[in-house]
Symmetry: C2
Subunit: 173 residues, 2 copies
Amino acid sequence: MPMVHNIRRQAGLAELAQQRGLRLTSQRRLIFSILESAPTHLNAKQILEEARKQDPGIDQVTVYRNLSVMKRMGVIDELDLLHLRGEEHYYEVRQLREHCHVGCLSCGQMFEFVTPAMKAINKALEKECNYKVAYARIEIGGYCAKCRGKEEQGKVIQKGKRVRSLTSATSRI
Amino acid sequence: MPMVHNIRRQAGLAELAQQRGLRLTSQRRLIFSILESAPTHLNAKQILEEARKQDPGIDQVTVYRNLSVMKRMGVIDELDLLHLRGEEHYYEVRQLREHCHVGCLSCGQMFEFVTPAMKAINKALEKECNYKVAYARIEIGGYCAKCRGKEEQGKVIQKGKRVRSLTSATSRI
DNA sequence: TCCTTATTGCAAACCGTTTGCAATAATATT
DNA sequence: AATATTATTGCAAACGGTTTGCAATAAGGA
Ligand SMILES: [Mn+2]
Ligand SMILES: [Mn+2]
Ligand SMILES: [Zn+2]
Ligand SMILES: [Zn+2]
């Protein structure tokens, strides 16, 4: 259940970091590589677990600190996923193609979705408010076709621009 | 700096709660009235402070528990405001007119914004994914005209559908 | 008015994240 | 290559927002 990550940015995180004068420690490289090859959005704990497979000595503060600098650099995005999975934050390498995150309030299934309407919001803001958008976080909760039950079962479910299913997690709301 | 609250829902929170069999305690009424007359998005602590002006004995758990049931009822929405203000959550009575929350990454100023493009996202999701949207949280970070500095000063800043300024808070990102 | 049970207040726990600090290691300088 | 500089790390402890356990209270139905 991979993310929409196929559309990759030119430079890797390591290069970007080095350009800004950050030191390339082994821990940093490791965290970068985990984020860049993540099949789904990861939270800090998951990143730590993954990192410890290769470097058992790595500490969670190192994860947090690196997430923090990368956030500040604008090369990764922090997601709440509507707090459907929990109170923690999730991270993904910033994508060239903007996408929203959609989750089913009933089964917890999450997926990414792309539509031109997203860009339209930014355009409207820039035109009507003279506001320069840097980043838009669009998180949507609703009910998937399956969960809406029997009366919908006959309908054809078009795939449309629905990108990929990501998870089915324990729902909370 | 009021919220877009002028567009009010038919029934008040108290009625809605009673309809669902919730007991109307004095504390609950108080919290409801605070939310309904809030001039801006409030976090739990602010709601508590406000409530204690009228009922000094009220406890924060009561605030949290009531926010929780109202969230579950879908009559209030929980906002992160991109965590520009802090890690806490902010709350507002659910509005009939969907709006996004936009914040300046430089000065922290937040405002609400309405555009038809928001509905377009929901429509696209429903059509292309057979997905029934219950709630969309759109939070946008960027740079306001003022903060973008001198080269923009000559330009006329249209008000557009920019609804209202809400706060200028200490920025974090 | 009594009964049932949802709701409250208090206290403590919880959990994700941050901070202080000394030890370590990446880069710049020689 | 050796050294100096200082960013980065790991450990431990703190932090802050939120949740939980439990006994006392009070709302709403009988
Ligand atoms: Mn994503
Ligand atoms: Mn959040
Ligand atoms: Zn579902
Ligand atoms: Zn600004």
